[in-house]
């Protein structure tokens, strides 16, 4: 796989790492109340939003704002005051050594950590302006809007068709014609249609690993989410399947916001627009991908991306 395949897509990204305040960022920043940001910014001025809208005019509209998020597994703190804005219809990548909390952070966004006893969360995640931890939030409709693809492909032990239709059935779509249409559209969207259109009734567990992972993507997009979280979606795949999924992610960006965890730095640099480097539960650096890889601002980041680091 050539690392140049998805080379600089946004030329201005490298052109100027810093730029003066830009008017078109004022609007998306508006729904975020300055209140929580202010005290943090006051006490830890270098923290707070790692990408200052003032410094990054290209971020555009954001869909998720993570504000001072901390998380504990029992007594053990796994996330330390994370701040980050996730831009809409872009790909944001989390990188970092394993165990640094990437999955934990990702699973906070669709509240999948709720399933684990003894998890305690502080801080906020705003999704389109409203706090997902608000007790009034309906977790099931939140998860419908924020889909997820897991590290290990996890198709249901059902037919290919039923795997894709499952989410729609759950959300009340029962008409066969409508389902047929959604299944075809989703499988096409996941670049899988041509490979499986003749065996939709066969078990999904008979597919190859790469196909299974794309099926999981099809399953996720079938319910028309706004955000798709991908937790190391290629870690168990061979290079060809990986390339396919990477290509697919770039296509999906047209319609969805993608947040991807990867410990493969080449992958992050190939596909993502923004990259966050995490270490020991902290967000060390968050920047446009090209900036992060070409001009890391923090020593730790530089050590990690140059491989001088455990």
């Amino acid at each position: 796989m050539s690392p140049t395949s998805t080379a600089p897509r946004e030329s201005e990204m490298i052109s100027e790492p810093t730029s003066p305040e830009s008017p078109h960022l004022a609007a998306p920043a508006a729904p975020i109340p300055p209140a929580p940001a202010a005290p943090a910014a006051a006490t830890r001025p270098e923290e707070g939003w790692p990408i200052d809208p003032a410094l990054d005019p290209r971020m555009g509209e954001t869909i998720l704002e993570i504000e001072r998020l901390s998380l504990w597994y029992g007594a053990k703190q796994a996330l330390h005051e994370i701040w980050m804005r996730i831009p809409k219809r872009q790909i944001t990548a989390y990188i970092g050594p394993s165990g640094c909390g990437k999955s934990t952070l990702l699973r906070c966004i669709n509240r999948l950590n709720d399933l684990i006893d003894e998890v305690r969360v502080e801080g906020r995640i705003r999704f389109e302006g409203s706090d997902i931890f608000d007790p009034r939030t309906d977790v099931n409709s939140l998860r419908k809007r924020i889909g997820m693809v897991f590290q290990k492909s996890n198709p249901f032990p059902k037919s290919i068709y039923e795997n894709v239709a499952y989410g729609c059935r759950i959300h009340g779509i029962e008409r066969k014609r409508e389902l047929d249409e959604i299944v075809e559209r989703s499988l096409r969207g996941a670049a899988l249609w041509d490979e499986v259109k003749d065996r939709l009734d066969e078990s999904a567990l008979g597919m190859s690993g790469g196909q299974q992972q794309r099926l999981c993507i099809a399953r996720a997009i079938a319910v028309e989410p706004e955000v798709i979280l991908l937790d190391e979606p290629c870690s168990a795949l061979d290079p060809i399947a990986t390339a396919k999924i990477e290509e697919l992610m770039v296509d999906l960006k047209e319609r969805y916001t993608l947040v991807i965890v990867t410990h493969n730095m080449q992958q992050a640099s190939r596909v993502s627009d923004y990259t966050a480097f995490m270490y020991l539960g902290e967000m060390v650096e968050y920047a446009p991908t090209q900036d992060l890889f070409l001009n890391p601002r923090k020593k730790q980041t530089e050590d990690y991306i140059t491989g001088r680091f455990g």
Binding site: R143, F156, P157, R219
Partner: protein, 548 residues
């Protein structure tokens, strides 16, 4: 020590492997030996042996089939020639001699022959008759005389009689049974009206109506009974005069003969055909002569139906319990205690379950049902006595731990990540459990069901006190409303084996029957298991690669 030599701990491993293989081989051998024993002892039951006519030293003449040969056991102080043998002869003719079998020393036999004109008559009563046919008569009219003539005339006549007997059977089971059933219902209806304490006028009117209906039915019954009577008379119109080997004579209505054979004229193919026909009778007919003859169909039916009822009860119950334990209950000391209790339940002796079933299901639940819904039949109990439903529920209690354990294992084998995949799509926990986890665990659940069915089909002791009987008057399913009669008593292959083998007056005759029935029980259980296994494999293939 050179490095390519086999290390000694590897040799230990080899010998352990051999030991394991040996243990498995021994197990297989035991199973094969069991099947072989059953086949050897039960398989011959249907095979017709030649009829031997023996003349003894004291002048007696015996006719029968040789069943067994054994060396003569020496009594104290006696010496016996080593080649001396005793033979067991089935002489039949129980109505003449009172015994079917006798043992005699081979040395007493002066001459042996296999006369072609001797016949075996399988009869509805008194077992087999061995002898010769002398005359065939209708009333005082002589139809045929002499062994050959009678034999020739007997065949067609007998076929006609078999048709007549079938007509009688149909009449008895069909219209007459229905009329009896209707009369009984009307009688109960009358009592119901009497118990209902209606206003006197209304009661009078309804009683009058019911009585009229009953009279109508009774008239119908009279007519049917008359027809039955004339059919019976016709059936018994012809008699065959038989002569035993010792010259005693006996008359027998042709209609009372099940099968007439001249075995000494049989070739191999005849015997094979006879064997098949007897096997069919064994599997599909009702028993005769206190279960020692005829078929065992009601026992097969009872066993299978009871096991099915049990499965219907135990699977939903066990699966729901396992779901709660594994998916919903907070895992802690309490759940662990419940799990231990469930496992211990599997170790409780089965007769204890029978006692519980009697006390709880039969007396408490059944008694309450009777008081609430069948007060008109009291004091005759309807559900308040043993029945197939209570038997099935008792066995369901007995086997529920098996289903719970197997289901829990099936559920535990569904990976967490699959559940998370469903939840991440916005499904609730309930939807995830019932639409993803449960189908994925289906093969495990079926494994539990297979084990439960195998256990239930072999269980006899608890059933003896909750509804299993030696001879049930009617199957639990018939043509009378409501068609399935869960309150009825039922027959069971396991109990049938015990009853035939050890409670029958004629142990010699029924010994092969015990083995044949045991073989059939194994066949029934195996069939049911194979069906369940086929379903499970189908499910597994459908979800290829799925857990469990």
């Amino acid at each position: 020590m050179s490095s390519i030599q086999k290390p000694s701990r590897d040799r230990l491993g080899d010998s352990l492997t051999a030991l394991c293989g040996g243990a498995l081989a021994l197990n297989l051998l035991l199973i094969l030996a069991l099947l072989g024993l059953l086949l050897a002892n039960g398989g011959g039951y249907f095979w017709q042996k030649p009829l031997e006519e023996l003349t003894l030293a004291d002048g007696r003449v015996l006719l029968g089939e040789i069943h067994d040969r054994k060396p003569v056991a020496a009594r104290a102080g006696e010496t016996v020639a080593p080649e001396a043998q005793r033979i067991q002869l089935k002489v039949g003719n129980r109505d003449l001699d009172g015994i079917d079998f006798l043992w005699l020393d081979e040395s007493e036999i002066v001459s042996r022959s296999r006369p072609l004109d001797t016949v075996v008559l399988e009869r509805l009563e008194w077992g087999n008759f061995y002898g010769r046919m002398v005359e065939l008569r209708r009333g005082s009219e002589l139809l045929a005389a002499g062994p050959e003539e009678v034999w020739k005339a007997f065949g067609p006549l007998h076929e006609e009689k078999l048709r007549e007997r079938e007509a009688i059977r149909k009449l008895e089971k069909g219209p007459i049974g229905d009329v009896n059933h209707a009369i009984e219902r009307l009688r109960l209806e009358r009592r119901k009206v009497a118990l209902a304490r209606l206003p006197a006028a209304a009661e009078e009117a309804r009683l009058a109506g019911l009585e009229a209906a009953e009279r109508e039915r009774e008239a119908e019954y009279e007519a049917l009974a008359e027809r039955l009577f004339s059919l019976r008379a016709a059936l018994d119109a012809e008699v065959v005069l038989l002569e035993a080997a010792d010259g005693r004579r006996k008359e027998l209505p042709v209609g009372a003969v099940v099968r007439a054979l001249r075995p000494n004229t049989f070739g191999f193919l005849d015997k094979l055909a006879l064997n098949a026909s007897r096997l069919g009778e064994f599997v599909f007919d009702d028993p005769r002569e206190s279960n020692t003859e005829g078929g065992i169909f009601p026992a097969i039916f009872g066993t299978v139906m009871m096991v099915f009822l049990m499965s219907f009860a135990v699977v939903p119950f066990g699966v729901l319990a396992a779901l709660y334990l594994r998916e919903y209950a907070k895992q802690g000391p309490l759940v662990r205690a419940v799990r231990i209790a469930v496992n211990n339940l599997a170790g409780v002796p089965s007769i204890v379950f029978g006692v519980f079933g009697l006390g709880f299901f039969v007396y408490l639940v059944g008694g309450s049902i009777d008081r609430l819904f069948y007060p008109e039949a009291l004091p005759t109990p309807t559900f308040g006595t043993g029945g197939i439903l209570w038997g099935a529920l008792t066995l369901a209690l007995l086997t529920v731990p098996v289903v719970i354990v197997a289901t829990e294992e099936g559920l535990a084998a569904v990976p967490r990540i699959v559940r998370e995949g469903s939840l991440a799509l916005g499904a609730t926990k309930f939807e995830t459990t019932f639409k993803v986890v449960l189908p994925a665990a289906a093969p495990g659940i079926l494994t539990g069901m297979i084990l439960a069915m195998a256990r239930a089909a072999g269980e006899v002791a608890p059933l003896m006190i909750v509804g299993m009987v030696k001879l049930a008057p009617a199957l639990p399913v018939d043509g009378n409303f409501p068609f399935v009669h869960l309150e009825r008593k039922f027959m069971h292959l396991g109990f049938h084996i015990y009853d035939v083998g050890f409670q029958s007056p004629n142990v010699d005759a029924t010994k092969p029957l015990v083995f044949a029935t045991a073989l059939l029980l194994i066949a029934v259980v195996t069939t049911m298991n194979l069906v369940a296994i086929a379903i499970r494999n189908h499910l597994r293939r459908k979800y290829a690669g799925s857990a469990v």
